[in-house]
Symmetry: C2
Subunit: 216 residues, 2 copies
């Protein structure tokens, strides 16, 4: 039996690969684990049946036999622990890769989400235009620190890991903003992730969902 993940039936990103199912699809492709996808509408996400798996009514979820998980970070870690290819064998390097997973989700993604809120949720508020530079500056601060650490490295800490997968997935969410353009080494880092065959397979799979939903 293959695990089943959930994804948006009609993704608000219109197939650009910005939704959080993308990072789970990518991890499954990296390790060569086939998977099923159950599409859920916005209404279905808030149903009791979906909330039994995801208490916060979101995607993605991961179901494998009796096991039901939520949170993309936990799902990617679960996949990485059970298959070779996403975490180093050395215990110390493994713990450091997990540090980067948490850094992506706890340190980079919150200010990036704040930009999404500023642009999509609060865009019609009287403060929208004046506040945007503050939000962007908080992101730039983190991007500068990340670029300093990455230096001219290919990945964040040795070989490609779940830490890179998560960091690149989070940084990719900045693509509509153009903010990455000021950090060429980070833009190149994201491009290296996008060039991986597993990423391309994951991207094509989520794009196919959008095209089917839009009749395209």
């Amino acid at each position: 039996m293959s695990p089943t993940i959930t994804a948006f039936r009609n993704s608000p990103d219109r197939g650009r690969g910005l939704a959080r199912d993308m990072r789970v699809r990518w991890a499954l492709e990296e390790v060569g684990q086939p998977y099923e996808v159950r599409l859920v509408s916005f209404d279905e996400m808030k149903d009791a049946a979906h909330r039994a798996v995801h208490p916060f009514g979101q995607i993605p979820t991961y179901e494998d036999g009796d096991l039901a998980l939520f949170e993309s970070g936990a799902i990617v870690l679960h996949i990485a622990e059970r298959h070779a290819g996403l975490l180093p064998d050395d215990a110390g390097a493994r713990a450091r890769a997990i540090s980067w997973m948490f850094a992506a989700l706890s340190t980079l993604e919150p200010p990036i989400l704040d930009l999404t809120i500023a642009r999509l949720v609060e865009h019609d508020k009287p403060w929208a235009e004046a506040r945007l530079p503050l939000v962007e500056d908080r992101i730039r601060g983190r991007l500068g620190e990340l670029a300093d650490r990455l230096g001219d490295g290919e990945w964040l800490d040795g070989a490609f890991s779940a830490g890179d997968l998560m960091m690149i997935s989070v940084l990719f969410r900045l693509s509509p903003s153009g903010l990455l353009d000021d950090y060429p080494s980070l833009a190149a880092y994201v491009a290296r992730g996008e060039a991986r065959p597993a990423y391309k397979r994951a991207f094509d799979a989520q794009l196919a969902v959008f095209k089917a939903a839009s009749g395209g």
Copy 2:
């Protein structure tokens, strides 16, 4: 050799236990692992020496021999994986506890941090007062969903785990706001965490740092 963590020399929370070293201290106390603390000032946090361990110039960090980790989530998970007491033995229950760790950090903490930013960083902006209800409503949405899942349970999923430790640590950051008062089951959940002997030892240890720094 005991591991060494870092904490604020002068915590901005004035010893209220809101800083992120608290969750690492708590985890170490739960598993009975002695530890050393290296205090860092705000200037020292931004030094190259500290950034070699924490690329984003924050606390806490965790150093044990050759291993250096950052991100409180990664550190607590590392501790929980190496000692009994914070993760269930059953593989599925263990993965679910880790889901709750990520939920605390990726789903609850971002809107809670947004409130901290609204109150401490943007408090003098012309939009501060008008925007606050939106920020608080986003937190209330998550608290309502969390209360629905917790129900009348003692902990989130069976026995106390690293998932509860992280969730309670994140919810505790709401204490200055009073927002938890509208969710009595969550307030009681946080109080159950605070009543644990390991929590009390961790709290007293961080309070002692503040008292020493303030000459009290």
